[in-house]
Symmetry: C2
Subunit: 144 residues, 2 copies
Amino acid sequence: MDKFMKEAIKEAKKGRDEGGLPIGAVLVKNGKIIGRGHNKRVQEDDPVLHAEIDCFRNAGRLGSFKGTVLYSTLQPCYMCSGAAVQFGVKKVVVGESENYTGTEDFLESRGIQVVDLDLEECKRMMGDFVDSNPELWKEDTGDI
Amino acid sequence: MDKFMKEAIKEAKKGRDEGGLPIGAVLVKNGKIIGRGHNKRVQEDDPVLHAEIDCFRNAGRLGSFKGTVLYSTLQPCYMCSGAAVQFGVKKVVVGESENYTGTEDFLESRGIQVVDLDLEECKRMMGDFVDSNPELWKEDTGDI
């Protein structure tokens, strides 16, 4: 498997083990991980701490994220996709887009390449969480 | 002036007085402010802490932000606009869109009403900052 997605999955598992949502992300620049994070919405009681936001945050103030590649275990929501657009990310690689979808067109319309690895491991990890915690998940998707 | 925009301007001034970017936001639900914040990117060395993100964060985990109105002293960037879309905000009221623009169509295409108050006070406050700190501002716009 893609080595960067493997790291994003590690992050997702950290989140799950903390009692939070199993979604992880890493940000890659010139072949190196410059930021990593996972969804901490439950853990920090913070509605904006999605995995990708946590990841950008941990990457810190680089000055520029232009040309970076964002790996996420799940298709990013609109906030996180908007962050990718705003920060000049050139490519978004997702583990799956079965448990969340709908932002691909937005990303592509802003010139960001989207690659869906369609990984069983990611689908199962997220699917199990959604099945066990439907209300928590609805908070993230805004469906509540 | 609109009483909620007045509060967003107060937040922006707090940010400016802390040495940060003069951008403020408040989130309103049923006529009451449920969250407020200002850009803390410089103060907390955090690339995602734009005013609107700080505002959502301070509103906390409501379960739902559906039907809220977001007031911001400046037209929100893609990350913050994406957050408004994701969280089901129904209307975005901005103090100005002269110092930043471009996300109106995205918001409107997702069914969010955008109202631009085109306020001299907001334009001057932000314009003065951009003139004095062009590099800091470029970090936020992704132009660096």
